[in-house]
């Protein structure tokens, strides 16, 4: 019985196996990116950027229909352009990053939805907004996997300057020139992972697999490295449980995954070891020193 619910969907159907592979690859990249977004207080920047991707993806859709490759390329170009521009603007003018991105947010979403609805149907629109992880073809799956690989490798390269820049940017500026490039590369990685998530979860939920796992991790650890591991693990668990849930019920896969992640987040808020509600209400007797 348990086997039927938990394993059979994947052993019986190839599209479920592909979806599982995609969501695991996605989690590996999005987990660490989300943790840094949160620690750098950029969670909403990620959200805004997710919408900035939409017009690019929509133009790809306009040119070649519901072709994931074209839409991804379009999304990447649009995302990079916005990330780079807003990064440069905030670094050179002192305008806060979130402010310089916020302007793009609504306009981009409106442009994107307009383009898609002019050319396509409501089904296409749903696909763009909420993704379809159950329709992973070979090239798409490969792309998702290689984007995750790129993310991990690049993150390993910029990890040290990124951490130091997050804690003590002034210090980094006095010892190294690596701060600004690390920041811009990080913005690029956000785009890569949002485009990745876009395939599976759509433009509205793509950012979910970044922010929710990071939020979960924050309640269980006080150190960056374990935080990243917890984020990746909880993203994978959400992906797996979400797929099972959507297979057994009629909930669409994308929302199902994010729903599971939200439940994990809620549980973490309540029970989390670091600053959770219940541990705060019942902290136990205070220590001697």
């Amino acid at each position: 019985m348990l086997r039927e619910v938990l394993i059979a969907p994947f052993s019986d159907f190839e599209f479920m196996r592909r979806a599982l592979a995609a969501v695991i690859a996605l989690s590996l990249g999005s987990g660490p990116i989300g943790v840094f977004l949160m620690l750098r207080r950029m969670s909403l920047v990620g959200d805004a950027m997710a919408h900035a991707i939409l017009p690019g993806a929509a133009i790809g859709f306009l040119l070649s229909g519901l072709n994931l490759f074209a839409m991804t390329t379009g999304g990447l170009i649009a995302g990079f352009a916005v990330a780079l521009l807003s990064g440069l603007v905030s670094r050179s003018t002192g305008l806060k990053e979130d402010a310089s991105l916020a302007t793009f947010y609504l306009a981009s979403l409106a442009i994107g939805v307009t383009i898609v609805s002019v050319k396509g149907t409501n089904v296409d629109l749903l696909h763009v907004l909420f993704g379809n992880i159950l329709a992973m073809d070979d090239p798409t799956l490969l792309m998702v996997a290689s984007n995750a690989t790129i993310t991990l490798v690049v993150l390993a390269v910029i990890y040290r300057p990124l951490v130091v820049e997050s804690v003590d940017p002034l210090f980094l500026r006095t010892v190294s020139r690596a701060g600004a490039p690390a920041h811009l590369i990080f913005l690029g990685l956000i785009v890569v992972n949002l485009v990745n998530g876009f395939q599976a979860l759509g433009t509205l939920l793509a950012v979910g697999l970044m922010i929710l796992p990071a939020g979960i991790a924050r309640f269980w650890s006080r150190d960056v490295t374990p935080m990243i591991c917890i984020a990746v693990a909880s993203a994978i668990v959400s992906g797996y449980v979400g797929l099972v849930l959507s297979f057994q019920t009629r909930i669409p896969s994308g929302p199902a995954i994010i729903l599971v992640a939200s439940l994990l987040y809620l549980a973490s808020v309540l029970f989390g070891r670091v600053g959770g509600v219940l541990p705060q209400l019942f902290p136990g007797r205070h220590l001697e020193a």
Binding site: V164, V167, F171, R173, V175, S176, R222, V224, M227
Partner: protein
């Protein structure tokens, strides 16, 4: 030999000078107190020395040292104290110059880090998150990082602000130890008794150098009064500064 040389340096923001036509030099191994009222340009001068601020005019030379090779302890460290990083990891960033982005931190380096933490009296705190430290412990930790930076020139911006006497005494010992190693140390200070007791050289700054030399000669009542008067001019409509022939010759 001069470790730091200022040639007619003007530093400021939006073309308004905060340090105006400063010339002079700091000898290698000097222990120099930089004093002056709030807004006298002490922090600005330090930011100029470590390369965070480009001079509006003039040059600052550090005898072959790059600005990056000067250790700097800022006044209001814009450290994100909520960031989840341990004291040990934080202090280890002081090794940046030798390990850079990719270098590993081996047993020898870990030893050095442990020593630096012990030298500031934070042994036992290695695994604690930086967010759990008190103000004094935070300052001790920042001193440990400066210690690790092993720099020939060390610039400390008001290191004893809001520190109790125990912390000040401990950290002052560290500074005197650096002085003994012939490192060049500059510190912005407000405590005149401390300056008299521990700092042989003093620069009294009030946008311009009011006096610069042996501490006993600089810390006179006349000089201090002059400094307070000179400090209060910031004119939004000020005309561009034309160098007088005299300051050119200096």
């Amino acid at each position: 030999m001069a470790q730091l040389q200022f040639r007619d340096v003007t530093l400021g923001y939006d073309r308004h000078p905060a340090v105006h036509h400063l010339s002079g030099e700091v000898a290698e191994g000097a222990l120099l107190a930089v004093i002056g009222p709030n807004g006298a340009g002490k922090s600005t001068l330090f930011r100029g020395i470590v390369g965070l601020l480009k001079p509006l005019a003039g040059t600052i030379a550090a005898a072959g040292l790059k600005p990056r090779e000067i250790a700097y302890l800022p006044q209001i460290a814009d450290i994100d104290r909520s960031f989840p990083i341990s004291v040990f990891d934080f202090v280890s960033t002081g090794l940046w110059r030798s390990v850079g982005i990719f270098g590993g931190i081996g047993a020898a380096a870990r030893d050095k880090i442990a020593h630096a933490i012990a030298a500031v009296g934070l042994t036992g705190f290695e695994g604690r998150g930086i967010g759990t430290l008190s103000g004094g412990q935070m300052q001790r930790m920042l001193f440990a990082r400066v210690l690790l930076q092993d720099a020939r020139v060390i610039v400390l911006d008001e290191p004893f602000n809001a520190m109790d006497s125990k912390t000040s005494t401990d950290l002052l010992q560290l500074i005197e130890h650096w002085h003994g190693e012939r490192r060049t140390v500059l510190a912005a200070l407000h405590d005149m008794d401390m300056v008299r007791a521990h700092f042989p050289q003093t620069l009294l700054l009030a946008r311009e150098a009011v006096a610069w030399g042996p501490t006993t000669e600089v810390l006179t009542a006349d000089n201090l009064l002059a400094a307070r008067r000179m400090c209060e001019a910031f004119d939004d409509a000020a005309a561009p500064c034309v160098p007088a022939p005299a300051s050119k010759a200096a």
